[in-house]
């Protein structure tokens, strides 16, 4: 049952990822990306990470992708124009893809998966558990990240403000 769900979600995620690149219509690409996000959230759920599941859907599928859609709809239905190819594009693509595959295999090839030693899966990914981690062990990285986001937001407002001449 669980491996069937995993397989379905993984296939949807991969299909969506291919779709993002292949579709010429930008709205279809965005929808493919939404599918990837939703499929990933299902994978999180399979790993008993309930809270990450909800956050993945709310933040990525809910807010970020809606902004993508918003901008594309605002710009109008422009179809991506077929562009000229680079010289020897096929050859370069094979080299880059092959190099990336070698990198992935060498990094992940030796990984062995095992269930966490004595974790109670019903509390493992719960809100309380995540909050405990965020505010004790990972307090400084957590606070620094929020500071970084604040700086980014202030910077965006500064750059987009009306300039008085």
């Amino acid at each position: 049952m669980i491996s069937a769900i995993f397989l379905a979600a993984a296939l949807i995620a991969l299909g969506g990822a291919v779709g993002i690149v292949l579709f010429r219509n930008p709205i279809a690409s965005v929808l493919s990306l939404v599918m990837v996000m939703l499929a990933l959230s299902v994978l999180f759920l399979l790993l008993s990470a309930q809270f990450i599941f909800a956050v993945q859907v709310i933040v990525y599928a809910g807010a970020v992708m809606v902004l993508f859609l918003f901008v594309i709809a605002l710009l109008g239905p422009i179809r991506e124009l077929p562009t000229r190819r680079l010289p020897r594009q096929g050859f370069l693509a094979v080299i880059v893809a092959g190099g990336f595959a070698v990198l992935l295999v060498s990094m992940l090839g030796n990984l062995r998966y095992h269930a966490p030693a004595n974790a109670d899966l019903s509390v493992f990914g719960s809100v309380q558990n995540i909050a405990f981690g965020l505010f004790t062990t990972y307090l400084y990285p957590f606070e620094l990240t929020s500071l970084l986001l604040l700086v980014a937001a202030v910077g965006a407002i500064y750059l987009s403000r009306e300039r008085r001449s």
């Binding site: 939404v34 859907v57 709310i58 809910g62 809606v66 719960s126 809100v127 309380q128």
Partner: protein, 345 residues
């Protein structure tokens, strides 16, 4: 997976832990819910038409059946049998997808909304640890229905409605989410059942959570109106400017699906409000199911009342209200509540 479906309530005869019995329970609960929900939604439409009629000093629908009670059923049949017209130049796939997402999101919300039927006897499909976050996640999907419907219709009115709606929903989602954080801090759980069962003890009295979270309550009420695209925040479908907004080009059954989703969302928002702030099915004398219906009706009446009373906001004042008043107020509310909770232990 198993954690999501974990059940920790009363377990008569081991029925809930039995692998087959568990699924029987879930399917029966879903079917009951579906039936009740669609009926209730139809009668909310009827209630709204009658009440708005009264607010405008006219009788409202009263021809079909006794007191007009069958009006919604007849309207449903009419919409089902109507010609399903599709304008030219639409993006066919997304055009058909949009109303389906709307109904799906409206129904899925109820997967985590519990309601008490009798003493110690609840109807719920899943009582998950992340509780209300599931509702936020699903209502985030609702934006896609409106955006895609507006975009794919090949009409400027629809597109403008969709864009307005996306901006409005994102703006008010923040205030909506933050307005509930004090409730979570006080109760210490996101499960809707825990929140509904939480009672504030003042002397001999048991009061609902509302007495501790009045500011969150007001912000939730306002933001929820914006989230469901209702007047006075119904800019996505402002009739005078945008014909019908995102659903201008939808007719027949596809329009009925948008309509159903909209009213189902209003019922969900009212039910969640009564669980979060008024203690859901808790109350003296009457059985739980009556209390729950009574509280939901209260909120429904409120939403219909403000729809027929208040004029629509201008777009910039809508954004100003959301970002400059509700959001800072919600954040201040979180900080103050957290401080008080830490202080008093």
């Amino acid at each position: 997976m198993s954690a999501l479906l974990a059940y920790n309530g009363p377990n008569p005869g081991g029925l809930y832990t039995d692998p087959v019995g568990h699924w029987v329970i879930v399917v029966v609960a879903m079917l009951v819910l579906l039936l009740v929900l669609v009926t209730v939604t139809a009668y909310v439409v009827f209630l709204e038409r009658v009440l708005i009629g009264r607010f405008q000093r006219r009788p409202g629908p009263n021809r079909v059946g006794p007191y007009g009670l069958l009006q919604s059923a007849v309207d449903g049949v009419k919409l089902l049998t109507k010609e399903s017209f599709m304008p030219s130049g639409v993006d066919r796939f997304t055009y058909l997808l949009a109303p389906a997402i709307a109904v799906l999101a409206a129904l899925l919300t109820w997967s985590v909304v519990p309601f008490g039927i009798w003493y110690g006897f609840y109807n719920w499909i899943a009582n998950v640890n992340i509780g209300i976050l599931v509702i936020f996640a699903i209502s985030a999907m609702n934006v896609y229905a409106i955006m895609l419907g507006g975009y794919s219709s090949n009409s400027k009115y629809s597109l403008l409605g969709g864009l307005r709606s996306a901006a409005q929903l994102i703006s008010y989602e923040m205030a909506l989410g933050l307005s509930l954080v004090p409730t979570f801090i006080i109760v210490g759980s996101l499960r809707l059942v825990d929140i509904a069962n939480y009672a504030v003890h003042v002397g001999p009295l048991q009061l609902p959570l509302l007495v501790l979270t009045p500011i969150g309550f007001v912000i939730y009420l306002l933001a929820a109106v914006a989230e469901t695209n209702r007047a006075p925040f119904d800019l996505p479908e402002a009739e005078q400017e945008l014909v019908g907004g995102f659903h201008t080009e939808y007719s027949g059954f596809k329009f009925a699906m948008f309509y159903l989703a909209e009213y189902m969302n209003i019922v969900s928002v009212s039910a969640v409000a009564s669980i979060l702030f008024l203690g859901g099915w808790q109350g003296p004398l009457l059985p739980p199911v009556f209390w729950f219906l009574l509280k939901v009706l209260l909120f429904l009446f409120f939403y219909i009342w403000i729809r027929s009373t208040l004029p629509r906001l201008r777009y910039d004042s809508l954004m100003k209200l959301g970002w400059k008043l509700l959001l800072p107020l919600a954040i201040a509310n979180v900080i103050v509540t957290a401080l008080v909770v830490v202080w008093t232990g």
